[in-house]
Symmetry: C2
Amino acid sequence: MNNFIFENKTKVYFGKGGVKEYLGSLLANYGNTVLLAYGGGSIKRNGVYDEVTAILHDAGKTVIEFSGIMPNPTYAKVQEGAKLARDNHIDLILAVGGGSVSDCCKIVSAQANLDEDIWEMQTVKHALPNKFIPLGTIVTVFGTGSEMNNGAVITNEDKKIKGALWGAQADFAFLDPTYTMSVPMKQVISGAFDTLSHAMETYFGKPDDNNLSDDINEAVMRSTIRNIRVLLTDPENYDARSELAWASAMAENGILKIGKVTDFQCHMIEHQLGAYTNCNHGAGLAVIHPVMYRHICKDGAARFARFARNVWGIAPLSNDEATALAGVEALAAFIKEIGLPTTFAELGIPADSDLRAVADSTVLTAGCCKKLTHDEVYEILQECK
Amino acid sequence: MNNFIFENKTKVYFGKGGVKEYLGSLLANYGNTVLLAYGGGSIKRNGVYDEVTAILHDAGKTVIEFSGIMPNPTYAKVQEGAKLARDNHIDLILAVGGGSVSDCCKIVSAQANLDEDIWEMQTVKHALPNKFIPLGTIVTVFGTGSEMNNGAVITNEDKKIKGALWGAQADFAFLDPTYTMSVPMKQVISGAFDTLSHAMETYFGKPDDNNLSDDINEAVMRSTIRNIRVLLTDPENYDARSELAWASAMAENGILKIGKVTDFQCHMIEHQLGAYTNCNHGAGLAVIHPVMYRHICKDGAARFARFARNVWGIAPLSNDEATALAGVEALAAFIKEIGLPTTFAELGIPADSDLRAVADSTVLTAGCCKKLTHDEVYEILQECK
């Protein structure tokens, strides 16, 4: 096993009723002024907004609202939030929503304390912030796993780059699966597919031999697949929703990555697709994954064959290459089965999108089995159409 | 999934060379006086003592030594350490050794700040301490998983009770698998069996249906079994040692217990066996586990059958009861295969030991499949002879 340092400080409150039971007492640990951050207003329709604001009110907090955080949150939105936080001397940011709200707030919590531009700081100077406004999250949509780490994906519209920045990690995170009941099923499923994607992108990293993290990863992948299927036949199933919620956190809390060099090539491609088309993240991944894996699985046949056997229950075929491909086709069939798009056309991406620009701006990773070129990324994108 | 709260604040430095690379800079976060705690002196023979004291010296620390912490650490030893810590105004306790040293220091770090007796406080008043001397650990023997939680097992010799107390959780833990190279193989294996036992005692808790924690648990069990076998054929294998080291931490850092009510009945029996005979913990568990599971597996046939299939790779037999029993026999055969004792006689427990007293003083848990009585515990102990 490779050397590693592991630490995860987020305190997780998991399960129904957690906000009502614990948020009030937690608020006593922070100062008076709270930035209440959320997205397009769905929390006003499903009652979460009323629940949270009542608790904030009872705790005597002054609440400043930061609303309208969009899917694929933009850098401009980060700057808007940072100004709001600075101007109001915010003591705690409370992010209520999915990964977009959480990601945006992580960077707001850092930018608010910085004199310099955090994008330049991280992407040009390769320096990291170390002073943050405390952050807490209340998760209403699962999948990004944003709740238990300090990573954030932000779209810089001017630069046409959707990229990772590093900000605050939440002190506390409420994961209440009942909050997902009012989320459109399509979004729940694309979120769950994002979880599966995080697990796969880690699983196909290096090294790929004897490694407890991979054994655990297979358990997370199987559980995610199983519970997506349960949920589609029984949408009210609390257990399935809670398993998917916890899998979302587990896939990105660092445990699966222990001792591994991960490979997030599919995410890198999807991020640039998102930067150019603003498509749904999980759905974009669903289209790209099988196509990319068909391109590389021969170069990592033993590992992809293990994926086929241990995740999809495929009996070994005549050789690893054949088993590997069968595993990728099982993934492709699963994506179709659960109603996610299998082509860019189904995803609603315009036929005249500049896929060459998407390919050329994609960050190329170390490569899980094969290091891709920009031309190969372009080929993959063409096949996704 | 049941509601849960999860938090684990220990920062883990895993891998060879970690102490040399990071301990010095970590020490800067603490005051001047360090209590250096260790066991019977093996760290003086394998070089760890010299390595650590040199780093403490270079950091300008005043070092007070607290040595001779025994396997099955006693309550008297806790009081000795607490007095030493109080008298010397200790700023940091550095526990160097296995679970016994770590467990003893966790309670020392709490008792040193208390005016009252911590045993009475926790077992009679059911109150918990909340002020601790900071603790760091350097693990040299793995298995107890003490490195990433706040639990400790202490033997109260006067009361003849070996029981759990709650103290400090380490701020940081160094897990360097190379430190285990000089530990007798017998002790390495009995430690690894302790890991397997922790996983089993959690796995057989409630609930036992759809649960990511159980899926992950099976991965930990399979990895532990696989790597014990690797190590016995290739004792220098660093990868196997590192997998076992990380499995030790994973089995007791809370992840496997998420959403579960665990059942540590076998540990409860072994603890009292230890209180009366001072036997090795992992070896005691090895004797008791199969005997106890033969007693209860019919009452949890479906779960034990899953254990047989998913952990031991046993093809389903005619019914769950038969598969369940085959799983228990696979466990028993494994214990024999890896050279752990299978009877109290092999373990060196005197034939005239007071097993009635052991049974009657055993804490009875909720029962994973069947709640045992003291008479049944006595029956199990008799069969272990």
